[in-house]
């Protein structure tokens, strides 16, 4: 490894200063900081026992229903995680200084009470995991900027770029074919197609007077994600997620209405590797999802679904832009439809969500309380829409055990219904047919499409939608009202 003294030393000092500053920020607690609610006995351990405090906060996060967790515990989880991350960075910086001196023939220093420390293969992944867990589990109140600064500083630092392990990883990436695998999913026949149109903003506003679904072509042509910074390149996505170290929440299982469905927080690289890229794993998952008897151990489908990836990773946010259409004032839900009675607060800004997964992912038939523009940045999806008028033929769920309101989700398994229609028994779940269980469903009117890469679909508020990916797909939804 060829290192010239100056840049390395400078990089170390910059990170060191940042870490020292971050320590001060964490430890000089303002009187009105909600973290004060934890009590002094807890707060005095922020520097010396961050791991213990993360455990303490994690327990408290589970002691309350998610929406009721007192802010002090979310603050504690966040600040203890930052404290832990900074200490880890500082330790590795000091080791780097030692290595540097070792390379130049100076005496080796043994750290930690005489036990020589073997440097972690990827300590950066560990630091990023600590910080991202705090962001995803608590929203990192008051500390989003600080965490983003820390991660950017790490990503940009010379330490990372000179890391020999990093070199090897990037070499490996270039050798492989830099695209997602092609899937072999059959394309459904489209009979009642959603119209395509190229609408200006004014034309769209006119369209909103009587809102119906429409595919807007050429609305995304300027997106870097579709041009110079293509999201269909796995290596590009890895690079934007700090070598794939950033953690993402992944839904495991065929559909969130199925038993055995669960969620996990895993590094972006592991998600891509196990659920998108590895052909053998992807195919076995697709096979497993077709039967009822998948045990916990067998490989299942993974879907990065409904996650605000763009506030977590601002790098990616710069590759897309909010469609102008989302700055119009759309109509409220139709009177007489279920959403008309609900009190949905007005959004100040459109809500962005990422949807990234393999072929075969399913979003079961449901409605959302907002108008939606669903954009395809990678791959294609089959989408079927039912008007709110058809609600009584769609068998909405009720309020489940534990008080969870599932009325926006239909009981009908549309994928199974489609398979039965096509007499494709390999996709039919169980033995009870849709027609028998839900007799009115076949009379419900729908429109459908195959949404291609570069297109976006306008879904009016309250319209039932069923979505199935036909290839590796990366969609972005923009919700507004």
């Amino acid at each position: 490894m060829q290192i010239s003294d100056m840049p390395m030393a400078q990089a170390v000092i910059d990170l060191e200063e940042l870490c020292a500053a971050a320590h001060s920020i964490i430890e000089d607690i303002f009187a009105d900081d909600p973290i004060q609610g934890c009590g002094k006995a807890v707060l005095q351990l922020l520097r010396s026992r961050p791991d213990n405090l993360i455990q303490f906060a994690r327990d408290k996060l589970h002691a309350y229903p998610f929406k009721d967790v007192p802010t002090c515990w979310r603050r504690l989880f966040t600040d203890a995680s930052i404290s832990k991350a900074i200490s880890e960075i500082e330790w590795h910086l000091s080791q780097t200084k030692l290595d540097h001196r070792i390379n130049h023939g100076q005496a080796a220093v043994i750290a930690n009470d005489g036990v020589e420390i073997v440097q972690d293969e990827d300590w950066l992944a560990s630091v990023v995991r600590t910080l991202d867990t705090a962001v995803i589990m608590t929203g990192a109140p008051l500390r989003r900027e600080l965490i983003e600064t820390l991660i950017s500083a790490l990503a940009d630092s010379e330490i990372v770029k000179q890391d020999p392990a990093e070199d090897q990883r990037s070499k490996r990436r270039k050798l492989e074919d830099d695209t997602f695998p092609i899937s072999e999913m059959s394309i459904p026949e489209i009979t009642n197609e959603i119209p395509r149109a190229r609408l200006s903003l004014t034309q769209f506003e006119t369209h909103l007077v009587n809102p119906t679904p429409v595919i807007l072509t050429d609305a995304l042509s300027h997106w870097p994600a579709l041009n110079e910074r293509p999201w269909k390149s796995p290596s590009y996505l890895l690079q934007r997620t700090f070598g794939g170290r950033r953690l993402v929440p992944v839904e495991i299982g065929r559909s969130y209405t199925d038993e055995g469905w669960g969620q996990a927080l895993i590094p972006f690289r592991d998600f891509m590797d196990q659920y998108l890229v590895r052909k053998d794993l992807v195919e076995s998952a697709l096979r497993n999802e077709k039967t009822d008897q998948t045990s916990q151990k067998e490989h299942r489908m993974g879907y990065l679904a409904q996650h605000d990836l763009f506030s977590q990773i601002p790098n990616l946010r710069n590759d897309i832009s909010v469609p102008d259409f989302c700055y119009t004032i759309p109509p409220p839900p139709m009177p007489g439809t279920p959403l008309a009675d609900k009190d949905i607060p007005e959004l100040d800004e459109p809500l962005l969500n990422a949807w990234f997964g393999p072929a075969g992912t399913i979003s079961p038939l449901h409605t959302d309380p907002y108008h939606n523009i669903l954009c395809q940045a990678v791959g294609r999806k089959y989408i079927r829409l039912y008007s709110p008028i058809e609600t009584d033929k769609l068998y909405p769920r009720g309020i489940e055990d534990g008080g969870v309101d599932m009325q926006n989700t239909s009981q009908v398994d549309v994928a199974a219904a489609m398979a039965e229609e096509e007499a494709d028994w390999s996709d039919a779940m169980g033995t009870e047919k849709t027609d028998e269980k839900f007799p009115l469903f076949k009379d419900a009117k729908y429109v459908e499409c195959i949404l291609e890469e570069g297109e976006c679909l306008y879904i009016p508020v309250g319209w039932w939608h069923f979505v199935r990916s036909l290839s590796v797909s990366f969609s972005i939804s923009f919700w507004w009202n």
Binding site: G39, A41, K60, H62, G402
Partner: protein, 407 residues
């Protein structure tokens, strides 16, 4: 008597007669802390604890200002009541992760701890208040209290849904019952107007909930989200947050999580003691059997013996609500204690076993992160055979062991 301890010591709660460091180390194996004629343990909080040492109450660990490096562990003065000739001794103490908060005296009055002066002072409720036999604070801040009252009503239908062992009324004119109140916080409780007599509602109570059980109270304990009540006949009732399936019983609309429900699995088994911590509750029967229930789904690691542990469910297929524990080949269990994530048992053979979280040394097995199966606890000097162990107690992340000196 001697007191041994291992585990979390970041507040010097386990440091006695030694220099108190600013950043103290946890204790990985059972260490002798002190000897005295008489020792009892009254409060085991996350950041401090209270012992009765030769009939003087002593507080060790974090202080009001969070500091924990005063040279000697302080003495809690017994409360002085100005007009009372006798001192009103503290019988039980309650608190949370911030420290000691208060106690109950022998006549059931509430005492509030004054950390500045290190004393308990009587609390004056805003209205008539019943004398409480028990008060317990859960990790989510909720408070449960209970008291006993006798009443006369030969036609009274049972108001609880329990089917436990019933007291035969000697005369059907007077019976005894327990009134349980639940509050959303300790502050709520301290500001309430209690109902002196349940049913005479001249002054409304701020109690979040009221439950009536036809029995006498023996124990009321809490963990992070659930309360467990033991009556004098050995029946166990649980209630609290129903989300994690850790109440040791089925949750149905007839037996909801939020109301004390009888633990059917222990029906007919006279339980002598219950202990609770984290998401786990343990019970020891008069026949010296140990029962466990709880555990939080989503945790990476489970004590194997818990009824819903993945290992147990995989093996046995059936999921029970309560598991009969098997320690050291199925020997009798004399005592049990539960912290936030670990369980400690004392067998009839005088051995100590522990399972669960161990990262702070609370298992007495070094820094072992987690023990799925029972591990014998280790002493820094000697072992269990040269000691006469009489009791085990757990703080959230540490363990205390009480011994008589073997002659």
């Amino acid at each position: 008597m001697e007191l041994y301890a291992c585990g979390f010591n970041a507040h010097n709660q386990l440091t006695f007669n030694e220099t108190r460091e600013a950043d103290p180390k946890d204790i990985p194996q059972l260490r002798r802390l002190l000897s005295a004629e008489y020792i009892d343990i009254l409060f085991t909080g996350w950041s401090n604890l209270v012992l009765d040492v030769d009939h003087v109450l002593k507080l060790n660990g974090a202080r009001l200002d969070g500091s924990s490096t005063s040279p000697n562990y302080s003495t809690i003065q017994n409360i002085q009541k100005e007009n009372a000739p006798e001192k009103e001794d503290v019988r039980t103490i309650f608190g949370d992760h911030t420290g000691v908060l208060g106690g109950l005296n022998r006549t059931g009055k509430i005492l509030i701890f004054d950390p500045e002066h290190s004393t308990f002072k009587p609390h004056n409720p805003p209205g008539p208040a019943a004398s409480k036999t028990h008060l317990s604070i859960a990790g989510n801040g909720k408070v449960a209290t209970c008291y006993e009252e006798s009443y006369s009503d030969p036609e009274a239908p049972p108001l609880s849904s329990g089917y436990g062992i019933r007291k035969q009324s000697v005369s059907h004119h007077r019976s005894t019952r327990t009134i349980i109140h639940e509050y959303l916080s300790l502050d709520d409780f301290l500001q309430h107007h209690d109902l002196g007599q349940s049913g005479t509602e001249e002054i409304p109570a701020l109690a979040h909930k009221e439950f009536i059980l036809h029995c006498s109270p023996r124990q009321l304990v809490a963990n992070q989200t659930a309360f467990t009540f033991l009556d004098d006949l050995g029946n166990v009732y649980t209630w609290g947050d129903g989300r994690h399936n850790h109440l040791g019983r089925e949750i149905t609309s007839a037996t909801p999580a939020s109301t004390p429900g009888f633990v059917e699995s222990l029906g007919g088994i006279p339980i002598r003691k219950v202990v609770s911590g984290g998401w786990v509750t343990a019970a020891v029967s008069r026949d010296r059997d140990l029962y466990l229930w709880g555990g939080r789904p989503g945790e990476g690691q489970w004590i194997r013996e818990l009824p819903h542990s993945p290992a147990r469910v995989d093996e046995e297929g059936v999921e029970e609500d309560v598991a009969l524990a098997n320690v050291d080949g199925g020997v009798d269990i004399v005592d049990v204690a539960v912290g936030d994530g670990h369980v400690v048992v004392l067998t009839a053979e005088g051995k100590l076993f522990a399972a669960g979280r161990g990262g702070n040394g609370q298992l007495g097995c070094g820094g072992m992160e987690f023990a799925e199966a029972w591990r014998e606890m280790q002493f820094e000097e000697g072992d269990a055979s040269d000691k006469s162990i009489v009791g085990v107690f757990c703080g959230p992340w540490y363990t205390l062991v009480l011994c008589r000196i073997k002659r």
